[in-house]
């Protein structure tokens, strides 16, 4: 019986405590940087596309909202010919970001996606690509990968020794 009255009093006291509601459209607020919102494709510090079109994100996606096609540019780098995210399907689980070996695909704190027409929710590569490196500023996949691409031969990557001529090891 006393606990009921105490409950009444405690709830009544809340009338004088500040309201926690954030009045969203009028009140601007910042979300934490690791918030899982709109998907972007980032570029490496040199301004080149990070995505190597490995399809891991498309495989990891539980709702199949990512589709892409791999191709090679003139320097020999693998890039996606097209990269398409259907945001009307996306559930913002972040599995694509976890799967990505090159930090290319990232989720951003931008959450207020809305369109009047459903096809407008399908974002193409040019809509997804941003000009910066996103959350990982210094990482450059092609500079650490031991793959020969235009302007960089085998053995010239960071933390990499020049290739060994195996024949010189013969007894």
């Amino acid at each position: 019986m006393f606990s009921l009255l105490r409950t009444l009093w405690l709830v009544f006291k809340h009338a004088f405590s500040p309201r926690i509601t954030v009045r969203y459209p009028q009140q601007v607020f910042t979300l934490p940087p690791r918030w899982r919102g709109r998907i972007i494709l980032s570029r490496d510090p040199d301004g080149q596309e990070r995505c190597v079109a490995c399809y891991l994100c498309a495989v990891a996606c539980p709702v199949n909202c990512i589709s892409l096609q791999a191709t090679e540019d003139e320097t020999g780098r693998r890039i996606p010919a097209f990269f398409r995210v259907n945001f009307s399907r996306c559930i913002f689980c972040g599995y694509c970001e976890e799967a990505c070996p090159t930090y290319a695909i990232q989720l951003t704190p931008d959450f207020d996606l809305s369109e009047y027409r459903r096809p407008n929710m399908v974002y193409e590569k040019e809509d997804l690509l941003i000009s910066g490196p996103g959350k990982y500023h210094d990482y450059n996949y092609w500079r650490v990968a031991g793959v020969k691409v235009g302007g960089k031969d085998k053995g010239e990557a960071e933390n990499e020794m020049p290739p060994v001529d195996v024949r010189t090891l013969l007894p």
């Binding site: 009921l4 009444l8 009544f12 809340h14 309201r19």
Partner: protein, 321 residues
């Protein structure tokens, strides 16, 4: 010979009370949502109109444009009739409340009995609504409502008998007069007041006692099959019930319109509004009891308590006489 001035005044009272009660009940929907939000550190409806006051209008527009759906398995005539009963019963009860000296629709000498009779009529609305829907959730809600409201009605009447003994009348205007001359009956009848508060909120099926609707168990209970304005009538009927109950508590235990300085009608409004706020606070803070707890609490505790209260009040009055 017809007294025209008197007739016009009476007509004015009737329409003022009718429209006033409906407007207050509709406004309460907004008040309750804002107050609950205040208690829960939220804002509540604050966009439509100044402070969100036009939210009720928006809701009304929405509810009137909804499809007025009667389920094919329902008993149609009873289904349509049920929501009107609660509105009619509660609105009729407003007829006997003295809002201010001379401002009363009818001055019945059995006003209190009339109020109790009308609140018994309200049970029919809920039970018939639940039964005619022909759905198991509605039926369960209706059965619960019947049991709950019948049990709590017993000592709701008994808890008021102490007031009747003290005032020596069933006439609400006389009861208020007696309090205006003496002390408010909440002092000698504190037990009766508490019992009436509990029984009254059980009678209006307010949240600590909302077992007939209990959305976590019965979807929406007796009005699960209702939509559109028929649901709206149940909804407004509930808020009319709160208004009526607060007005009755103010009348019976807190001296009605009597009070210093302010005009009588304003005093009445202030007192009634306080209890409306209290009911909203009750809704915001207390959990729903289990069904057997509700019954045991009613029959094993509140009924003996109200009988004891009646006994002691009678004995004291006899000894004083």
């Amino acid at each position: 010979m017809i007294d025209w001035a008197d007739t016009v005044w009476r007509l004015f009272t009737v329409f003022a009370v009718l429209i006033g009660a409906l407007l207050v009940a509709a406004g309460l929907i907004w008040v309750e949502r804002r107050l609950l939000a205040l208690f829960q550190n939220r804002y509540g409806p604050n966009v439509v109109g100044p402070f969100g006051t036009l939210q009720v209008v928006a809701d009304m527009v929405k509810i009137f444009t909804k499809e007025d759906w009667v389920p094919p398995f329902a008993d149609k005539s009873v289904f349509v009739l049920a929501p009107t009963i609660i509105m009619a019963a509660v609105l009729l009860s407003f007829a006997v409340i003295p809002f201010a000296p001379g401002f009363q629709v009818v001055n019945l000498n059995v006003g209190l009995l009339f109020f109790l009779a009308m609140s018994s009529m309200g049970v029919y609305s809920v039970v018939l609504g639940g039964w005619s829907s022909n759905s198991k959730y509605s039926l369960l809600g209706g059965v619960r409502a019947a049991a709950q409201m019948l049990s709590y009605e017993v000592f709701m009447g008994l808890s008021l008998m102490g007031v009747v003994l003290l005032a020596g009348s069933f006439d609400l205007a006389t009861i208020v007069d007696a309090q205006a001359r003496g002390i408010w009956y909440v002092v000698p009848q504190i037990v009766g007041f508490v019992v009436f508060l509990i029984a009254g909120s059980a009678e209006t099926r307010r949240l600590p006692f909302d077992l007939p609707e209990a959305e976590s168990e019965l979807v929406a209970g007796f009005h699960a099959e209702y939509s559109g304005m028929k649901f709206g009538m149940f909804y407004v009927g509930e808020y009319l019930g709160i208004t009526l109950l607060s007005a009755m508590i103010a009348t019976l235990f807190f001296g009605g319109w009597s009070g210093p300085l302010l005009p009588p009608f304003l005093w009445f409004v202030v007192k009634a509004a306080f209890f409306v706020g209290l009911f909203i606070l009750l809704r915001g803070s207390l959990p729903r009891p289990r069904y057997d707890q509700l019954m045991a609490w009613g029959w094993k505790f509140l009924l003996p308590l109200s009988l004891l209260n009646l006994l002691v009040t009678g004995a004291v009055i006899l000894a004083m006489a």
